[in-house]
Structures are given as structure tokens and as C-alpha cells.
Amino acid sequence: MSNWKKLKLKDLNRFLDELSSGYELWIPEKEKQKWIWSIYDKTDEVQFPPNIIDESVKALFFPKRRPIAEFDLKKKWSVKQVETSTKPRAIMGLRSCDAEGINYMDRVFLHSGYTDELYKGERDRTLLIGMICDEMGENCHCTDRNSSPDKTEGMDIIFKRVPDGFLFRQITEKVSDILNFGLLIDTDEIYEAPEWPRGRFEVAAPEDVLDTYDDEFWNDVSDICLTCGGCTFSCPTCLCFLVADEKFKGKCERVTVWDTCQFSAYSRMAGGHNPRDNNAARVRNRTLDKFGYSERKYGRTSCTGCGRCVIICPLKRSFPYIARNLTERIKEKKAASQGA
């Protein structure tokens, strides 16, 4: 008997029904050629994509627009914090790159000095049921980022698709009840890790990346960037936000809203000064943040290798493309300085 349990394919829906009776269950759903996260509905035909879900799991913990407090404008001063949800929730089918993203969010919202209580509430109520990818996608490159599709760090349960069903394994203590569901049966089958291929987007070491700050390279790679911000909004570790007070029908909500360093107004001050007033400065900021600054601030680089920015970039000049070219540039510079 292995330490895996087996769920037969025909039992999948019954398993999900059982799971959803105790948890608010989120699973991937295909909508217009894109995979998004959606609450499980018994009438759905459930599928799990072979690799990433187009929509990052970030939004389930840190929504695009997130009310955090409400002001009562009829009073001289009154503000009340939004209550955190405590309803148990399970997210099923996320990948190792999603868990990496959550790990990074934890660093920012839980371990950087101030606790974001709403984020903590979402984390505390959520069970992570991770899936090992069937294969790496065209733009996947977690293997270029010291990870792999079968890394279990951060998951509570992990599962893997096999020809006639799924293999499940418990990772943390949080979830023993689920693994005892009658539908999960003992098995001799085990998961054998394949030799995962490398991705296409290797990046130089943080100190070398940071060293390129003054390089002409940034002008060359950023010239056609539309600064649409798509790369940042799709990124599981881009967490920049705006704090806004929105007034509507006598009510005023304080919200956090996703924002991006790729917008020129992001860093523009009331007096007009803007420390990042051109494309090159903005593209450089994002790249150096992923591969340099984040390591200094939070102890690890923050690209998870999910490839969502490659998929979303309308010009296919996205960040891994830039990073790969940057690595070439660093090699060239090093070779030139050694030759001189």
C-alpha cells in the first residue's frame, strides 16, 4: 500500500459534492477558451487543465477591488472595519506556481511588519488542494525558478491525474478528514516524478540583474511596451495596490484596488514630479523587482515561472522575454570585460 489514495474517475463528482458540503469549493472552469476560478456547481462538468489556470489564484486572497472599511458620512467620524470571512473554503486544482505566489503574498501581507487581517482571514479559512501538472505548458518555466510542477510546498493535499482517476496524498495535518472520505481508496499506485524539462526563460543572479540599472538595454527592450499593465495584473506576485475611498449613495468605502508600476500615474506626485516617467524606468522597475529587489526585501526572487505574463502580453515582449534577453546581455558584458 502506498501513501497515496485513489479516486476513481467515475467518483469525481461525488467526491466534489461531498467536499463542497463542508467547504466553499473553488475549482478551475473553462470560459471562452480561458481557465478561470469558479465556485463548484453540481451541474458542471468538471475538468482540470493540464497545467496553469489562466487566472492567477491571487484574486481569491487579494481581490482586484477589496472593501476594507466603511465610513458613515452622516456622522462626524465613524469608520468600521469589514469583517473577515470564516467560512471554510477549499481551492482545488491550483499548481505549485500558485502556491509559490501565495507564499510570496504571505511574506508581504503577513510577515513584513504589519498583518493584513483580511488577507489572513482568507488564508486561515482556506485549504489548498494542489494538482501536479500533467505536463508543462508552452510558456511554463517554474523549472527555471528552482521549482517544479510537483513541488508540494504550501499545499495541504496534492493530487495527480492518472489514466483512470486521481491519486491523492496528504501533505499537512490540516485535512485528515478529507483523506478519509470513503471514495478515496487505498492503492499500490505511486506517483513517479518524471524528468521535468527546463523552461525557456533562465535569468541571471540577482546581483548581476541589479547591476544593469544604468544599461542602455532598458531603452531597447521597453520602446514598444504599451504599459497596459497586463503582465502585472496577471502576475501572482505583483501585489501593488491603491488605497481609495469610494463614495456612493451616502456610503463611503475604503477599498484596496490592484494598481501597477507600469502606469505612469502610479508614481506621479501631486506636484508633477515622477521618479519613473518613462517606459524604460517602469519596465526596469518591474524586472529588477522580480529578480533583485524582492530578494533583498523578502528573501527570494518573486517570479514563480507561471508564464501568465507571456500569455497576456499583446506584444509578446513580456517580462520573461525581457529577462531572458537581459541574461544574454549580462553574459555579453561579462565576456567583453573578461576579453578586455
Binding site: 476594507i68 472599511a69 465610513f71 458620512l73 462626524k76 467620524w77 469608520v79 472595519q81 508581504v108 501581507f109 513584513s112 511588519g113 504589519y114 498583518t115 493584513d116 487581517e117 483580511l118 541589479l210 540599472y213 544604468d214 501585489l239 501593488c240 495596490f241 491603491l242 488605497v243 481609495a244 475611498d245 463614495k247 463611503c252 475604503r254 484596496t256 494598481d259 508600476c261 502610479y266 508614481s267 506621479r268 506626485m269 501631486a270 506636484g271 514630479h273 521618479p275 524606468a281 522597475n285 529588477l288 523587482d289 533583485g292 529587489y293 533583498r296 526585501k297
Partner: protein
């Protein structure tokens, strides 16, 4: 949740200049407001929004503190409309502080451009409280015009204090103004202050900071002797929203006070 402000009562509004008002604030819960020298606060105007302001006067153990606000955008416009007795929200204080104790026994040169004098006033206050601990105080203040001169009462006090030397300048000639005319960097050059045993502290518009640092360096001041407080665009104040990230440092958390040689690349 740190992003939710606490109520503070406006005790007094002081008209400083054409477009600057100071607000004397007291937290509604009546507790002392303890901030380190150089820290900042986030002020909420209910129903409008929130922005970052330097503390322009504070006293150890006191319940009240002052922020000075230049009318620049929507929020500051709405803040200017508030009067004594009304409430604002306060978060903070946040950020690092001026290392005043490291400057003991040195001569201090404090340079403020416009509203940039606001975060420096508490430093001057503290130096004047501990005169015997420092070797002297030069204050340089530049305003656009006589109408933009702030903290007039303080300037008078500093001018009459034999311990301090005050140099005030306005940017361009103005009818009836008999004082100095010209930008701060050229005034600093003219003063030709020696760098020996000295520390300079600068705050003002980015271009003014940059040119003043250049002027000092040209007179053999070292970057390690020059400090600034980078009151750049901040928002959450707690190092999470990412907005003030410059060259990998967060102004709200690693700053706002920086020694010039420790400033992230390309900021000023």
C-alpha cells in the same frame, strides 16, 4: 487593520501662506502622540481619501501635533476647507527618523525649500532645545515669493536667536522685498559653508535637493554628511502597496530619511 485610520480632532487651523495651512491635531482617544523626529502620518479626509504628510511640529509626550499642508490636488483642497472642531483620520506615525544623536557636537545646516521646511521644523525645534549638544545651526529657507513664506513666527524667533543664523531667499525679485533673491543652491554656494564637522539636512522639491547636493559636493561636502527626507509619493505607509518603491527601497519603510550615499540610484 493598519489601513484603517483613527479619528483626530482639528484643534486649530493656522494660515501659513497663500496656499499652506497648518492643522493642529489631537487623537480623539486623547493618548499622547509619540512620533520619532522625521516620521510622517497618513491623513484621511472623510469621504475624500487619504494622503501622506510630514509632521511639522511635535513635542515629546504631547497629545497634539501639527501637519502643514500645501494645496496641490483634490484631497489637499478638501482638507483646506476643514475647520477647528472637525475630524480627520490619522494613521501612523510611520517611517524611520533623523539620527539626531549621531549629530551631537556637529554644526548643522538645515535647508528647506518651500513646504520642504515642514518636516525640518521639528529638527530645528529639537536642536534649539538641546543647543549645548550641537556646535551651531545655520538655516536656509527658500520660498517662491514673499507670499509663500511659511512659519513666519518661527522664522522671526530663529532670526532673533543668537545661536542660529537664518538665511531666507525668494526665487525671483518681488516688489517690496529687500531680502535675498535667487534659488537655494546658489545661496548655498554664496554662503560657502565649510564641511568640517558639519551635517546638512535638505528637504524640498526633487530638483532643489539634487542641485543643492551638487552645490555642497562642489564645496567638498561628502555624501555621508548630507541627509534628506524623501517625501515621495507614498500611500499605505507600511511597506505593502509598493508605490514608493524606488531602486528597491521603500521610502515609507526604509525612509523617508536617507543619507545621500544610501539613496537608491537615480532618485534625485
Amino acid at each position: 487593520m493598519e489601513l484603517i485610520p483613527k479619528a483626530a480632532v482639528i484643534k486649530k487651523v493656522i494660515n501659513e501662506s497663500n496656499d499652506v495651512k497648518s492643522f493642529l491635531l489631537e487623537l480623539d482617544e486623547g493618548k499622547p502622540f509619540s512620533a520619532l523626529l522625521g516620521q510622517f502620518v497618513e491623513i484621511t479626509v472623510q469621504g475624500i481619501g487619504e494622503s501622506t504628510f510630514a509632521i511639522s511640529r511635535q513635542k515629546k509626550g504631547a497629545t497634539q501635533f501639527i501637519v502643514s499642508v500645501k494645496k496641490m490636488g483634490h484631497l489637499t483642497k478638501m482638507l483646506h476647507r476643514l475647520t477647528a472642531g472637525e475630524f480627520v483620520g490619522v494613521r501612523g506615525p510611520y517611517g524611520n527618523s533623523f539620527p539626531l544623536e549621531e549629530w551631537y557636537s556637529k554644526k548643522l545646516l538645515i535647508i528647506g525649500g518651500g513646504i520642504g521646511l515642514a518636516p525640518l521644523r521639528p529638527v530645528i525645534d529639537q536642536i534649539l532645545l538641546e543647543k549645548d549638544k550641537f556646535a551651531g545651526l545655520e538655516i536656509v529657507f527658500g520660498a517662491r515669493s514673499p507670499l509663500d513664506i511659511l512659519f513666519k513666527e518661527d522664522l522671526k524667533l530663529w532670526e532673533s536667536d543668537p545661536y542660529a543664523r537664518l538665511h531666507t531667499t525668494i526665487d525671483i525679485p518681488y516688489e517690496g522685498w529687500h531680502g535675498k533673491v535667487g534659488f537655494i543652491p546658489s545661496l548655498v554656494k554664496d554662503l560657502a559653508l565649510k564641511p568640517d564637522n558639519s551635517i546638512a539636512v535638505i528637504c524640498g522639491p526633487p530638483i532643489m535637493i539634487r542641485l543643492t547636493v551638487e552645490a555642497l559636493k562642489a564645496m567638498n561636502w561628502k555624501a555621508e554628511q548630507i541627509f534628506t527626507t524623501l517625501e515621495m509619493k507614498m500611500q499605505c505607509g507600511i511597506g505593502q502597496c509598493g508605490r514608493c518603491n524606488i531602486g528597491g527601497k521603500l521610502i515609507c519603510k526604509d525612509g523617508p530619511v536617507f543619507r545621500i550615499d544610501q539613496i537608491p540610484y537615480g532618485v534625485i
